[in-house]
Every structure is written in structure tokens, then in C-alpha cells.
Symmetry: C2
Subunit: 423 residues, 2 copies
């Protein structure tokens, strides 16, 4: 017997037929003798509909009332799932955010969960009653409704799993796990049995949007074992294993135990086309000059990723190139222009036709030569590297956007990630 | 300055454009210096949509989860109205059923309000903040969501008005008041300035569905002055007066004060086509025999209205005729058939082609001859009376359904209710 949190997204909850499928799957897990809590999203499209009303009410809608309005979507699906389970003979009840309660900080529309009262919940679950919990919502200290921000239900599920000390948090999605890379780009991409929190965070931050980043951070902090798996298999069959997201220690222990599992150097390849490159030309080449560029950007909470200071221009001047999220490009240019005199540059050259390709893996901590393999493989195919950034478990390169798919395929092969058969 | 509760139904809340109209009207009342609480229904059609999901989940859906699902409709509109008011510069906030809370008995889908905690609410209202309260919902002692049954928002509004000791509870509807009769039947129907609770109850119970009966009963019990008025006039203009529903004492005082107001013998004429007539033939004519008929019906909570025991049949036998709500006809017949041996009848003759027409007025308490006028007027037009029932302020006759409109017109004229110009 285990204690399991199951989380279903909006696509799985879109309409009664799908909710019945979800209920059948929950029933299956509960009838194996597990204690089960289910965290649900609103029906696909419902949150957009409700947000649409708010925007129609006023472009600058009141965030406290926004929370009251949008939290209703998950209230509906949690009630519907609980009644469907009961109709199938499975004892169940819904626990709304204010009923448990799920305590959040006082911050509307982007609240963080502080704590969850689980005494009543655990008592009910211990009798075999399935707890159905609306994701995304909570209650603030002042008694008002709060929500966690879009996609917050993943975070709700992990927080509930941490609070009830669940053996596992199963997140059902429209993919059946985390892959070595996007299977739409590389047909020989392989599903991973296990990744570490750190790898998952790097993969998520560079474009593999399987889980909300915040939920993985929380799982890492709280040591919650998360499994990503598909909600579209037959619910009455034994589930196909998904991808387990665990600590590095558990991963090491598993490798030590299981002779079939090999320590991989690289876990996955990710690509992100939402970066923009900015070159600021003819900046005075003296100490502190660069601070005039990056200080104002940091103040505006713009996340600068890669930075290259070109050398060899006219004496006393240099070009500075860096990347920012594409969504922040216009704002970045605006800020630089406003500080033109202090910085003392000639002009700004923006470029959105770039992409960041990253190789990620905890294995590289203890291995040299990862970057060298990458540069060699790309060079052999004539792919030009515009910039490089590294972390302990990641090497990223900035390349021409048109070469993204080619680069991903080349690297997937170069690190021996290709499956024997196409995915 | 007064303390006013305003209530808006689903048609008034159907979409942001209408919600903006409601907000403009609330703003107008608040800016006159009144303390305002607004009670709102779900958007027209929304509760049906949510009930539809529940029925799809299971025909015998769990009532506790039904409440969780359907209460969301009013949560959405209360949040939207509050944010619209704020966007218009009017301080406002929503107060959900569990937040005040509105305490109800432990009965899902048909709860009754027991009490409302108003301390926080009144504190907020005294600062000029408009309180927006979702109708229809409450919280049970065990902390779960309850709802009051369809149309319950009128009752919520009256309960809030009683709890905050409001000077008036204004119920905005799609008609601009209570009329002497249905203006679609009688073009010369007149809008009433004032009716008593008792008259309103009789008019409601016989088919004038302006307000939920339960809300009028509560208003009478708590002495809440209710005004019915139209939500479709221009919200920026001074409101047209609607119909005030008050105690008999207030009505008397008003008549004594205002020389223009005349004591009317009859306040209104109502018709109800949803009655069914049942004749049970050849019942043994001995003491207690009738109890065998009405006992089992009462046990099944079937409301028997008019009863006629025909005389003059074969010696020792009699026919019994009575009326029940049309919706209960099939069940009534079923119950009688099951008790055929105990009752000892020959056969059951159902008839749904009947209608009940009633004249209502507190004025008839002190006047004889009301029934005589009625019988004479109907007889002159050849309308046959199948049964008669009376109360202190009402005389009802059962007639052929096809003659309903004719009877209503004849009686409206006979009691001098016709307006000089068509409504």
C-alpha cells in the first residue's frame, strides 16, 4: 500500500466523458489498496473563458476578484470528479482550497503555497476515501481566495504530495514521459525512465515544457518523487511506466542496484527558439562600462543569459553581445536607449533569428570533454556557434535559428542517445 | 442615507455588458450615500449548464458535490461585478457564502439559511465599500458548501436584508413590478404600488412567479420591506418605482396617510394551469373512508388543494374529487392504485385540462360578497365552476383550462381593476 497523489490537467478534465476516464483510472489505483488524493485542473478552455470575462470587465482587473472568478473552474471539476467516483462506487469527496485549507502568501494571481492543513484530509484518506482537490487555488491569511498563476496545478499537486508525505506524485499529461529530446524533431528520441530534479529544471528552462518549472523546484526542495505519465492509455490496464523525477541520490542508488541501468553522460538535448540576441556596438572599453548596460536591465528584472564581450575593435571601444528572452526584447532596447548617454554606445543590433541548444546531464559533473564533443559535432556539420554558456550540468550554445533541428539531431546522435527504433 | 440590499437575477448578469449596466445602477445607488449590499445570481443558463454536467456524471448525483459544482456560477458573477465596480471607481468586494459565512442547515441542494455573520460585512459597508454576495449558496456547520435550491437567490437577498437590518431589499427582475394580473392576458392590468406579504404569497402560489415563494415567506417572517422593480430601465436615471411588498400594518398606515391611495377590495387575479383534477369513483360512504385516500398522499408530501365530496350517488357510495399539482399527478395515481383495497374505489379519472383562477386581496377580510361577485360574473359568461376553495384573503375556482384567459379578463373587470389605458 502506498500513498499516491494523482494530478490531471485540463485536457484530461475536458467534459464528462474524459472525467469518467479519469475516475476509472483513480478507481483502479484506489482499489489496489492505495491512499489516493487527486489534484485537478479546470476543463481545458475554461480558465481562458473566465480570464476573458475579467479582461472584458476591465483591462486592469482587480486581482483579488480575478482569483474569485478563475478559482471557480477547478471547483467545478473537483466536484464533478468526486461525484463521478461516488457513482462508480468509490468513496470520495472534494476538498476546496479554503476547506483544507491550502494556506498561501498574500499575493493575488501569483500566490505561493505556505502550508497545507492535512489532519482532516489524512483522516478521511485513511478510511479509503479519495480526496479530490482543486489545483491552482488557495486561501490567504485574510480569508480571501488566492490562485497560484497559470499552470499552478502542477505545483498544487507537488505541494499536496509533500504535505501528506506521499510516496509519489503522478502527473498525468498528454505525453507519456520526459524524452531525451522533442520526438517531433528526432524520431529516435527515447523516453527516459528517470531524471534528476536538476536535469528536469534545465530541460524545462530550455524548452521542454512538460512540467511547470515551479513545481519541479518545489519537488526538489521537498524531496517529492514525481512521475510524469500519459493520461490517454486505457485506464483499466496496468499503467505504462512514465518518467520518474527524483533526487541525484535516488538516481545513484538505482544505478548501483540495477545492472541494466547505465550512467548516461548526457540525459537530454533541449532547444529554445524564444531567445533574442542583442549587440551593443562601440561601447567604451574601460572597467565598469559593462555595468552600465546590465545594471538597468537587472533592475527591470530582465534575465540576461549569455554574454560575449568582443575584442579587437578600434582601440578603446568594444562590442557587447548578450541574449534575453524574446518577450523582453522590446523592453530591453527601450531601457538601453534611455541609458544611451551613460553607456555611450553607437547602436543596438537586435536579432531574434537565433536559438539556444543545450545538452543536459548530471553525468557531465564527473566528465571532461562534453563541450569539446559538442563543438566538434556542430563544426563537422558547419553549424556556427554564436555564443556559449555552461552550468555544472549543462552546456548551451547560441546558433542560427534555421539550424535548430539539425543541431538537435546531430547532438542526439553524437552523445549516443538515439533509440534503436523510432519513437 | 439608507441601507439597501439590491438583488439581480441571471438575465441581468448574463454577460459583461449587462454586468456593467448592473454596476452602473449599483454605483448610482451607492453614490447617493446609501450603504449597499448586492446579491447576484449566476449568468442566465450557467446553472443549467452546471446541472447538466452533474446529470451527465450520474442521474443520482451526490448532492454534496452537486452543491460544490453549481455554487460556482454565483461565485463567478460576484467576482465579476465586484471588479467591474472597482474599475468604475466604486470600492467593492465579493463575500462568498463561506466567507461571511452564511450558515445553513445540513441539507444539500435545498438548504435553509439559519443565520448570517454580519460583523465584518457591516464594518466594510460602513466604510462605503459595496458588498457583493453570491446568492443561492451557503456553508453548513460541517464546513461544506450548500445551496438553497433553484431560484434561491431571492431568498438569499431577503436573508441578507434581514441580517443587516436593511431599510429595503430591492429585487430587480425582468418585469417592473407586481401587476393586478398577467399583462399578457389582460392588457389593462395595472402595476401595484404596494401589496402585503400575504397577498404576494397567494398571488405567487397561484401562478404570478415574480418572486420565489420562500423569499416572500422569509420577508414576512423577518419584516423585510421588499421592492420588485425592473433592471432594464436606464441605470443612470432615477429609478421608476416598482412594487413595494410590506406588512399589512405598513399598508394600512400608508392608506391612512395618503389620500390618493384607496383601499382595494381585490388586489389581483391569478391563474394556474399546473393543477390536475383527480376523481376517485364509488368510494364507500362511511366515516374515515376519505382518510384512506388523503393519508397516503400526505405521507408522500403531495399537496392536495381543493376537495369535493360528491353526494347523491348510489346508496353507501360516493365520488371524491380533488386537485394536486400537475407534476404530482402520476405519482398520486400510483399511490392510490397501491392502496386500492384499503380505499375500496371503483376507478380513478384524471383530468389535466383544468385551471385554478383566484381573486386575492386583504380587503376581502372585512367585506362580504366577494365570492358572490365572482360566481355571478363567471356565470354570466357561461363559465362552469368545478370546485371552489377559499382562504381569508383568497377565493379560488377550478374551471376548464380553455376558459382561463376569459375568466381572468371577466374577473379583472368585475372587480374594477382595469386601468384606463392599456399597460
Amino acid at each position: 500500500m502506498a500513498r499516491i497523489v494523482m494530478k490531471f490537467g485540463g485536457t484530461s478534465m475536458a467534459g464528462m466523458e474524459r472525467i469518467r476516464n479519469v475516475a476509472a483510472r483513480v478507481k483502479h489505483v484506489a482499489e489496489q489498496g492505495n491512499e489516493v488524493a487527486v489534484v485537478v485542473s479546470a476543463m481545458a478552455g475554461e480558465t481562458d473563458r473566465l480570464v476573458g470575462f475579467c479582461k472584458e470587465a476591465s483591462p486592469l482587473y482587480d486581482p483579488a476578484e480575478y482569483d474569485v472568478v478563475v478559482a471557480s473552474g477547478e471547483q467545478v471539476t473537483s466536484g464533478l470528479l468526486a461525484m463521478t467516483l461516488k457513482a462508480m462506487g468509490v468513496d470520495a469527496r472534494s476538498w476546496l482550497g479554503w476547506q483544507m485549507p491550502i494556506h498561501t502568501v498574500e499575493s493575488h494571481a501569483k500566490a505561493r503555497i505556505q502550508s497545507i492543513d492535512t489532519e482532516e484530509l489524512l483522516k478521511a484518506m485513511s478510511t479509503g476515501q479519495v480526496a479530490v482537490i482543486p489545483g491552482f487555488q488557495g486561501r490567504m491569511e485574510n480569508g480571501r481566495v488566492s490562485t497560484l498563476g497559470r499552470g499552478g496545478s502542477d505545483t498544487s499537486a507537488v505541494a499536496v504530495a509533500a504535505a501528506v508525505k506521499a510516496d509519489r506524485c503522478d502527473i498525468y499529461t498528454d505525453v507519456n514521459g520526459v524524452y531525451t529530446t522533442d520526438p517531433r524533431i528526432v524520431s529516435r528520441a527515447r523516453k527516459l525512465d528517470m531524471v534528476t530534479y536538476e536535469e528536469m529544471l534545465e530541460l524545462a528552462s530550455v524548452g521542454s515544457k512538460v512540467l511547470q518549472t515551479r513545481s519541479v523546484e518545489l519537488a526538489m526542495k521537498e524531496g517529492v518523487r514525481v512521475q510524469v505519465l500519459s493520461s490517454f492509455d486505457d485506464p483499466t490496464q496496468e499503467e505504462l511506466p512514465g518518467t520518474l523525477i527524483v533526487s541525484e541520490e535516488e538516481m545513484e542508488a538505482q544505478i548501483a542496484k540495477d545492472s541494466d541501468m547505465e550512467r548516461q553522460l548526457i540525459t537530454g538535448i533541449a532547444a529554445d527558439k524564444n531567445e533574442a540576441k542583442v549587440t551593443v556596438t562601440r561601447v567604451p572599453d574601460r572597467p565598469g562600462a559593462v555595468a552600465h548596460i546590465f545594471g538597468p536591465l537587472a533592475e527591470a528584472s530582465i534575465n540576461v543569459d549569455m554574454i560575449i564581450q568582443n575584442v579587437g575593435r578600434d582601440k578603446g571601444e568594444t562590442d557587447v553581445t548578450f541574449t534575453v528572452p524574446g518577450a523582453d526584447l522590446a523592453r530591453s532596447i527601450d531601457i538601453l536607449e534611455k541609458n544611451k548617454e551613460t553607456i555611450g554606445f553607437n547602436r543596438i543590433i537586435p536579432d531574434t533569428k537565433v536559438s539556444k541548444v543545450s545538452v543536459v546531464g548530471v553525468g557531465m559533473k564527473s566528465h571532461a570533454g562534453v563541450a569539446a564533443t559538442m563543438f566538434k559535432a556542430l563544426a563537422e556539420r558547419g553549424i556556427n556557434i554564436l555564443a556559449v554558456a555552461t552550468s555544472e550540468i549543462k552546456v548551451s550554445v547560441l546558433i542560427d535559428e534555421d539550424e535548430t533541428e539539425l543541431a538537435v539531431r546531430v547532438l542526439h546522435s553524437a552523445y549516443g542517445l538515439d533509440a534503436e527504433e523510432a519513437a
